[in-house]
């Protein structure tokens, strides 16, 4: 049952929110022991929230567009009085005194939070294996990863443990797990959704977005969580999206570009497997058959994205994660002096990948290295913005595979960070440019696991992206 179907049933009184929530909680009970998608299940809170929705319906008041819809929240979004861990030991025992803006907006729309989902610690990873609470498994094959870093949120929706979920996408952390788990994952334009209450990884790259089983659900959730927030200075002061209205417009006349450097062809980055290349090509052909024009477009700097990203994101993270020092919240390992306490706390609290990125970022910003590393990465960002702007003069949207491969086996890439990092090669450019991108399932690979196809557009092109995504969804095999 889609989120919109649930909301319609609850709003009309056909079905109680309590009943819906019980059904989902029962499924979590049955399935999550194996999947480990949730860090925390909010059974009691969810039942109370569902009862409130039902009371609103009974009173004849508007319970909101997502009335009774069970939602899972990535555990890097602050929830008032409820543990928020980032899947890290360092936040042990911390309960935020406030809700993230997205959490407030979902609640106001009648959605019911059923739990906090697992992630790679501080959203640093592409497989949800870097979690202090153990890996999440892919519901379609439990010996494979669900992708990451929002693997718990993707797995929860794919397994029907939540109707929708929220993830955060810093370099592909919504789109890649959506592709791996066979669901729809959307990273909106930077600033389209408030980051207030999202525990920062790379502040200039982070963006919250929805997972769902359908494009229409995705549009409905983005309408709710999007829009200006005075608490986030980088939030765009633009009218909220009207997305559901464009879903049946088709792609007649739309110009779709195949991004040559991320296609697997001769000028492309390496590592995109042939079955994934084939699915992406088939998706382009299907859009063409539906009335879009398709052409190849070149964005040479797209190949530099990965290198630039692994300077910008760790640099910002090294600063963002400084506050986890044992002084005010979370874990504290006592030691004779304040300085030693901070060191002991951070040594014990952070996992290996987080420490690696803090060190990378610290180095990239250091005096004498800034220009060669961080400064150069900023130049790549500027170059990419210019080249993508040129590309979007030729086409309305770009199409690429979401990830170079399908979901890989658990443990396969944990030993070598570089093999993990290349997972995000197709998704990273739109984080560096701040542009929106969606991953829509499009068939399966040779291993039978889902393949995701990504549609990218310029800033605030969400309506066009959803318009085309709805067609892709319809024609997908």
């Amino acid at each position: 049952m889609s989120a919109l179907d649930i909301a319609a049933a609850v709003r009309s009184g056909e079905r109680s929110a309590a009943d819906v929530v019980d059904e989902y909680l029962a499924r979590i009970d049955a399935r999550d022991g194996e999947l480990n998608a949730f860090n925390l299940v909010l059974a009691e809170e969810a039942r109370a929230a569902a009862a409130a929705v039902d009371a609103t319906v009974a009173a004849g008041d508007d319970p909101g567009p997502l009335a009774g819809v069970p939602v899972a929240l990535k555990d890097n979004m602050c929830t008032r009085g409820v543990a928020t861990t980032c899947s890290s030991k360092i936040l042990e025992g911390w309960q935020p005194p406030y809700d993230a803006t997205v959490v407030e907006r979902l609640a106001a729309a009648g959605a019911v939070a059923v739990g906090k989902t697992n992630l790679d610690e501080f959203a640093m990873g592409s497989s949800t294996e870097n979690s202090a609470f153990g890996p999440t498994r892919n519901p379609l094959d439990v010996d494979r990863v669900p992708g990451g870093s929002s693997g718990g949120s993707a797995a929860a929706v794919a397994a029907g443990l939540a109707a929708i979920s929220l993830g955060s996408d810093t370099g592909g952390s919504i789109r890649q797990p959506a592709a791996f788990c066979g669901v729809v994952g959307m990273k909106p334009t930077y600033g389209a959704v408030s980051r207030y209450g999202l525990i920062a990884f790379g502040s200039s790259l982070d963006q919250i977005g929805p997972f769902s089983t359908s494009v229409a659900d995705s549009a409905a959730v983005l309408e709710v969580i999007g829009g200006h927030d005075p608490l986030d200075s980088t939030s765009i002061d633009a009218p909220t999206f009207d997305l559901q209205a464009v879903l049946d417009r088709g792609v007649e006349g739309l110009r779709i570009g195949i991004l040559r450097e991320l296609s697997g062809g001769p000028d492309s980055v390496e590592g995109i497997t042939s079955d994934v290349q084939d699915r992406a090509a088939a998706a382009a052909a299907a859009l063409e058959a539906a009335g879009a024009s398709v052409q190849e477009v070149s964005v040479p700097s797209a190949t530099l994205g990965l290198s630039a990203y692994y300077l910008v994101a760790p640099a910002e993270a090294s600063s963002n994660l400084s506050r986890f020092d044992g002084v005010r919240f979370g874990l504290r390992i006592d030691a004779p002096t304040t300085g030693e306490m901070m060191t002991a706390t951070r040594t014990a609290g952070f996992g290996t990948e987080v420490k690696r990125r803090i060190m990378l970022g610290t180095y990239a910003l250091s005096a004498g290295y800034y220009d060669a590393f961080y400064g150069k990465a900023l130049k790549v960002r500027t170059l990419m913005l210019a080249e993508f702007a040129t590309a979007y003069e030729q086409v309305d949207l770009l199409l690429t595979p979401t990830a170079p491969t399908t979901a890989f086996p658990l443990g396969e890439r944990t030993a070598d960070p570089m093999t993990m990092y290349v997972n995000d090669v197709c998704t990273i450019p739109s984080n560096l440019t701040g542009h929106p991108g969606i991953s829509v399932p499009f068939g399966v690979g040779d291993d039978g696991m889902p393949v995701g196809v990504q549609l990218l557009g310029p800033a605030l092109s969400e309506p066009t992206i959803y318009q085309a995504a709805a067609v892709l969804e319809e024609v997908a095999p």
Partner: protein, 484 residues
């Protein structure tokens, strides 16, 4: 008088000083959140997720801070620039996010100057916006972070808006350093962006001190002096530090670049961190804030609303009166020049107004005194209705708001009536009779003697009348009688 030996810089050495002044802006709320900008209250009460640096919190720029900062910049003749905030990364328990949000390579205000009363001009490099840290109290050990048993942190001050004003190393004398700070404070008060109290820490002065042989233009190794809590202390600290450098150079040593802690009680500076083990702050642009892009209209509005600054106000009073410069300076510093101008406009004598204010209105609250009532008071005194002593008492009552601040009602209530001139003349005749030698000297041609004896007779009369006599009437009578 200090009792301590105050070292003096030898004549062949020249002082080179640059000042970094941190000023707390008197906004209602903090720099990046809605918390009250008030930190004398119960610890950790004016705090929120943002100023506590809690995970997930974000800063939002307080527009009033930007306005205040630009106002200060323009008052110092700076040019206003588009700017970005930056992060200065370092670990310290009272720095909630373990980075300070500040302006680094793109400050709002650049290239200004501050003119001192004697015409000396000190260049201003920049005046940038940044946030304050919380306040740490180290308990046990030596009271420093390294050996404390435990530390207490109050985050009420965390996120309080500051402007740091950085001067060029243009200052050559201790007096100029003190005058710079004093003038800056006057400007801050005049443009109403800070209460600028050094003793309370809302204005904090660090001094970069070095010396060089007179005639040289080199810049030698400097030391940064911190913990200077008053203008007087600033003078002592600079003097001490400069002499320390000279001593080192003269014994073939050299100071090393470091931060030093001024010990006011001990009258000396002690070594802090040296530059070699200083942090690498890893500055980069703050991604959570958008660039500040002041428009020409905003700058024009600030210029248009700029009040008359202390230098111009001093000049105005100076033109109207013949009193000494320091009288005018005091009146302007206390922001009592508008009151003085009001009284002068209402017809009172300018010199008398300024002298009366300077001598007798050094109180915190004088809001009950108006130009009109002050003029009345000064005129009553001039007209002989009040003696100087009585006028002083009436003014105190006026400032306290007694009898509606009306000088006539106050004088009446106090029973002040000028002595009848007949009674006064009788008294003077009596005194002349009793003190013939003194009277002879008063009538002599010796100007010094005459002055001295005028003081003698006036004093005797005041003593006899318990201050009730009017000084001017006494002077006139004495003069008339001596003329014959």
């Amino acid at each position: 008088m200090t009792g301590l030996h105050e070292p003096t810089l030898p004549a062949e050495w020249e002082l080179v000083v640059g000042l970094e002044v941190h000023v707390e802006l008197a906004t209602q709320t903090k720099l990046f959140c809605g918390c009250a900008n008030e930190f004398s209250t119960e610890p950790n009460t004016n705090v929120c997720p943002t100023c506590l640096g809690l995970p997930g919190s974000l800063p939002v720029m307080n527009e009033t801070v930007v306005d205040f900062a630009m106002r200060l910049g323009r008052a110092l003749g700076c040019s206003i620039h588009p700017s970005v905030m930056a992060r200065k990364n370092y670990f310290y328990p009272d720095m909630a996010k373990d980075f300070q949000t500040t302006q680094y390579d793109q400050p709002t205000n650049r290239d200004g100057e501050l003119a001192l009363a004697d015409g000396t001009v000190v260049g201003i490099e920049r005046a940038h916006i940044e946030e304050d840290a919380g306040k740490t109290t180290h308990v046990g050990g030596g009271g420093r972070i390294n050996d404390a048993t435990y530390s207490l942190v109050d985050y009420n001050r965390a996120g309080v808006p500051l402007v740091e004003i950085v001067s060029h190393p243009d200052i050559r004398t201790v007096e100029h350093a003190k005058a710079y700070v004093s003038e800056l404070r006057d400007i801050l008060l005049a443009i109403a962006v800070s209460d600028a109290k050094m003793e309370e820490g809302s204005m904090r002065v660090d001094a970069n001190v070095s010396v060089r042989p007179v005639g040289s233009s080199e810049l030698r190794t400097r030391c940064e002096l911190k913990n200077i809590n008053s203008i007087r202390s600033l003078g002592r600290a600079i003097e001490y530090e400069a002499c320390r450098h000279v001593d080192l150079y003269e014994s073939d040593e050299a100071p090393r670049q470091e931060t030093r802690h001024w010990d006011e009680d001990g009258g000396r500076s002690t070594a802090g961190r040296s530059k070699e083990d200083a942090d690498d702050y890893r500055y980069f642009q703050e991604p959570d804030l958008v660039p500040l892009t002041p428009t020409p209209e905003q700058v024009a509005a600030i210029d248009g609303a700029m009040p008359v600054l202390p230098a111009a106000r001093r000049a105005r009073l100076g033109e109207l009166s013949a009193v000494a410069d320091d009288v005018v300076a005091t009146v302007v510093e206390r922001c009592q020049d508008a009151l003085a101008l009001g009284a002068i406009e209402a017809g009172a004598d300018a010199d008398k107004v300024l002298t009366r204010i300077q001598n007798d209105l050094a109180v915190d609250d004088w809001s009950a005194v108006t130009g009109q009532t002050l003029a009345t008071l000064v005129q009553m005194e001039s007209g002989g209705e009040l003696s100087a002593t009585q006028a002083k008492q009436v003014l105190a009552d006026m400032a306290a708001g007694n009898h509606g601040g009306d000088p006539k009602s106050i004088a009446e209530a106090r029973g002040f009536e000028a002595m009848e001139s007949d009674a006064l003349e009788t008294l003077i005749d009596q005194l002349i009779n009793d003190n013939p030698d003194e009277w002879f000297r008063f009538t002599s041609d010796d100007e010094g003697d005459r002055k001295k004896m005028q003081g003698f007779f006036t004093g005797q009369i005041m003593k006899a009348t318990k201050g009730q006599a009017d000084g001017r009437a006494v002077a006139e009578l004495l003069s008339r009688k001596s003329a014959g």
